[in-house]
């Protein structure tokens, strides 16, 4: 074997063997059966909600960021008691009075802030168990009859309590977590031009009483059309329905699954999840994101359905960590074999090639 062939082995090792070995290790540890299970129970979840966030009473969900000021000035002009409009702007989990001088938001009442969400199941609305969540401008529904705000390109950040995850088994770790965000009060023709091809980035953070851990920069490209078969209780039939909606599916790598299992340790009843959606863009024409319909922008409520796929964390951990150890040993052996002190390649191929 000549020197060119030896060095070809180096190239093959880095560009061929190593990526495939890593892909095998990470995927072998996180293969679930492909079936989604409901993370939300079908009934009202009457348990103590988390109170680790200061100033917040027990809640089922909470707005952290609702997309910016978002035409608040327009509502201020419409409203003789502007405090309604002031409540439509949530940033870092608080309404403006906490972060703006009184002259900007003079009549603000923090107690009626949009942030906190009650636990209201939206049974039968989506194909999976779901709950209602107030839209961005819910607090001006008494002032205006229609939503006049633009969607904005983010950030939209939701904090979801254990009420959204109480069906996840404590002895399993999640391989995939899927959020269906759908505005169901208005049905559209499935060929409506209201549906747009968009892209956005998503981050997910798991909060436990002792630790928070985020997984960032998941990229999504999809159409805002959410089509499904909805059950009509009056006629006992299923009808095709098209709503404005997004499906945000987090497919975790095997090692991320292990980290999630490590920080949550099966205690989903003390876990909240922060979901951040940002950098919304139109993908068809790359025009600025302005008035596009998003399921969570409006003066009503939308539905959040959560589903998961699980893996056995013990089995996944064994495969991933053992596989990584083998890869470490192989890489070290290859490093030593690259020196003049040990030539396994020459010995192996001796006599076969010149």
């Amino acid at each position: 074997m000549n020197s060119i062939q030896f060095n070809a082995i180096a190239v093959i090792f880095v560009l061929g063997f190593m990526p495939f070995a890593i892909a095998f290790i990470t995927n072998a540890g996180s293969s679930s059966d492909g079936e989604y299970e409901d993370s939300i129970s079908s009934t009202y979840y009457a348990q103590n909600y988390p109170s680790q966030y200061p100033g917040v009473s027990p809640y089922a969900g909470k707005w952290i960021n609702n997309g910016g000021l978002n035409h608040t000035a327009h509502y201020l002009n419409l409203d003789s008691t502007p405090h309604y409009a002031n409540r439509t702007f949530v940033e870092n989990g608080a309404c403006p009075s906490a972060i703006q001088p009184p002259s900007v938001f003079p009549k603000y009442d923090q107690g009626d802030c949009i942030t906190v969400q009650d636990d209201i199941p939206s049974a039968g609305v989506l194909p999976m168990n779901s709950k209602y969540f107030k839209q961005t401008h819910y607090q001006v529904r008494n002032v205006v009859s229609t939503y006049v705000g633009s969607s904005g390109d983010g950030p939209f950040t939701f904090l979801l309590s254990n009420a959204y995850f109480n069906e996840i088994p404590s002895n399993q770790s999640i391989d995939k977590l899927k959020f269906d965000l759908v505005y169901t009060p208005v049905d559209y023709s499935c060929s409506s031009s209201i549906f747009q091809n968009i892209s956005f980035m998503a981050d997910i953070t798991f909060h436990t009483p002792s630790i928070s851990r985020g997984f960032n920069d998941f990229k999504f490209e999809q159409n805002t059309k959410y089509e499904f078969e909805q059950y009509d209780v009056n006629h006992a039939t299923y009808n095709a329905v098209c709503n404005v909606g997004l499906v945000v599916e987090f497919d975790f790598q095997g090692f991320e699954t292990l980290v999630i299992d490590d920080i949550i340790n099966g205690d989903w009843s003390n876990t909240t999840i922060e979901l951040n959606l940002d950098n919304f863009k139109r993908t068809d024409d790359n025009l600025p994101f302005t008035t596009e319909a998003l399921p969570f922008a409006g003066i009503n409520s939308f539905s959040i359905g959560v589903q998961h796929q699980t893996v056995d964390p013990v089995q996944a951990g064994f495969i991933i960590k053992t596989g990584t150890l083998f890869l470490a040993v192989a890489t070290f052996a290859f490093a030593i074999a690259s020196t003049p002190y040990w030539d396994p390649f020459k010995n192996t191929f001796k006599g076969m090639i010149d």
Partner: protein, 96 residues
């Protein structure tokens, strides 16, 4: 940080490829060698970062997600890069 590791690995690969090709009588002009080297480096770095989860895996190892196995892999990968750098300086080829 991780990008630097990937770029370093791919630079070593491109130096190896161009050097061996030169020894074999190919890529005699400096322009040809430069073009081939840069092309090899860019293509292989893009391949590792965009089409594989190599970068994510390295991050996970650094972050402690894979425990002691992850740190062992990082150590081995570091040793491999050091050996190749030394070999390229001393012998003008990655594997001796």
């Amino acid at each position: 940080m991780i990008e630097i590791l990937v770029i370093l690995a791919t630079v070593l690969i491109s130096i190896t490829v161009v050097g061996r090709a030169g020894d074999a009588g190919y890529l005699n002009g400096s322009l040809q060698r430069g073009f081939a080297g840069v092309s090899t480096q860019v293509v292989s770095a893009n391949f590792l970062i965009s089409y594989t989860n190599f970068e994510t895996f390295i991050y996970a190892c650094l972050d402690g997600m894979l425990g002691i196995s992850g740190y062992a892999f990082l150590l081995s990968f570091g040793v491999l890069l050091i050996v190749w750098i030394n070999n390229l300086i001393e012998y003008r080829q990655a594997i001796v």
